[in-house]
């Protein structure tokens, strides 16, 4: 046990030499093999790119979402260094997280709007003049739900409210 406790941490003693090595051991003369690390990084980049693509497709047809973009490394297609691959991986991971958060926030708002439509249909008099469009619920098209009085002023005075659903986009001229 004492010989174990006496061993210096960080000092690699050559086995079988019978001598101790000080804290300033010789630097390794072999180049570290980066292949495994590079392969792992390339796989991670592939997976993150896949997630980014999925998120991009999930945002469609929403047009006002921020586009997650990761700039190229410059210099055309080339073999990236280990540091560059790490930077790329980190940047992609950051963008994926940002995009996921933005989409999550947006879909939460859309869910609230869908709920609002349900409430408007159930109790139009409690949602006077409220208007929800397809864009508000993340759908393509120009359709909208609008709470309006039946028979104009008479409806307003009598409290006769209803939800009018538009017929969609106007025809292109």
């Amino acid at each position: 046990m004492p010989d174990v406790l006496d061993t210096h941490v960080g000092a690699a003693a050559p086995r079988g030499t019978g001598r101790t090595v000080g804290p300033f051991a010789l630097a390794p003369t072999t180049v570290p093999d980066e292949r495994a690390a590079r392969r792992t990084l390339l796989d991670q980049v592939a997976r993150l790119e896949s997630e980014l693509s999925q998120l991009f497709c999930s945002t469609w047809p929403r047009t006002h979402m921020p586009r997650p973009q990761v700039a190229g490394r410059g210099g055309g297609p080339r073999l990236l260094s280990l540091e560059e691959l790490e930077e790329l991986r980190d940047e992609l991971a950051g963008r994926v997280a940002d995009a996921r958060r933005a989409l999550s926030d947006r879909t939460w708002v859309e869910e609230q709007n869908r709920r609002l439509i349900e409430e408007m249909l159930l109790e139009p008099e409690r949602h006077k003049w409220v208007r929800v469009s397809h864009e508000d619920i993340g759908e393509p098209g120009c359709k909208h739900w609008h709470v309006r009085p039946r028979w104009s002023f008479i409806g307003m005075l009598m409290g006769w409210w209803r939800v009018v659903i538009s017929s969609g986009c106007p025809l292109a001229t």
Partner: protein, 211 residues
């Protein structure tokens, strides 16, 4: 049309180690550059009609275009800025409302890329010296006479010099010209793209050229 003689290009060991499934398949074909015949123009029109906004948006999740997006990313290209060839064709279609006919060679490449998703390039066979393959650019090398290449850039090269940048432009001294009589069609293969797709792309382009 006679059988295509498909040849596998060499890949530099360092590159093969990094991207084990990287490949270059090429085939020599006879060509008469010029305007496209009516059938090819019609095929382009039909191809253009198949594109919709939703399809283009979701194209990046299809296996073959996705594989090239991933490869672009892994070699330091942003595929949303420098589009992969198949996405480039789709974007051109959306911007111009159709696929314009340019000449029979470009049209054949466009059709093959759009149909299969595999990037293709065409080289003048007379300007290529030796076997084609993939390697890293050496310091001081240029593409053509003027375009400098950055060190360790991925290039398609013959026995002497780089003739094209991978997923990029073709050197002006190796590209197809109106006087070209024989050309080499090259298809780039990456991880996730089966060889049959590369063969299909080459066949598709050759078939269009012989229409």
């Amino acid at each position: 049309m006679s059988e295509l003689d498909l040849v596998d290009g060499w890949v530099e060991p360092e590159l093969a180690q990094e991207f084990p499934q990287l490949s270059l398949v090429h085939a020599r074909v006879k060509v008469h550059p010029g305007p496209s015949p009516r059938e090819v123009k019609q095929r382009l029109r039909m191809l253009a009609d198949r594109y919709t906004g939703g399809k283009v948006v979701h194209m990046r999740q299809d296996p073959v275009p996705w594989a090239y997006r991933v490869f672009s990313r892994q070699v330091g290209i942003d595929p949303d800025t420098d589009r992969t060839p198949v996405e480039g064709v789709a974007l051109r279609r959306l911007k111009h409302g159709g696929l314009r006919s340019e000449n029979v060679v470009d049209d054949a490449l466009t059709i093959a890329i759009a149909e299969t998703g595999v990037p293709l390039i065409a080289l003048d066979a007379e300007c290529v010296d030796g076997d084609l393959g993939l390697r890293l650019a050496r310091s001081g090398e240029t593409l053509g006479d003027a375009r400098p290449l950055s060190a360790r850039q991925l290039v398609i090269a013959d026995g002497q010099r780089p003739v094209a940048v991978v997923l990029g432009e073709v050197g002006e001294d190796a590209g197809v010209t109106p006087t070209t009589e024989r050309m080499i069609l090259c298809a780039l293969g990456v991880k996730g793209v089966p060889r049959i797709s590369l063969e299909e792309a080459l066949w598709c382009a050759a078939e269009t050229l012989y229409t």
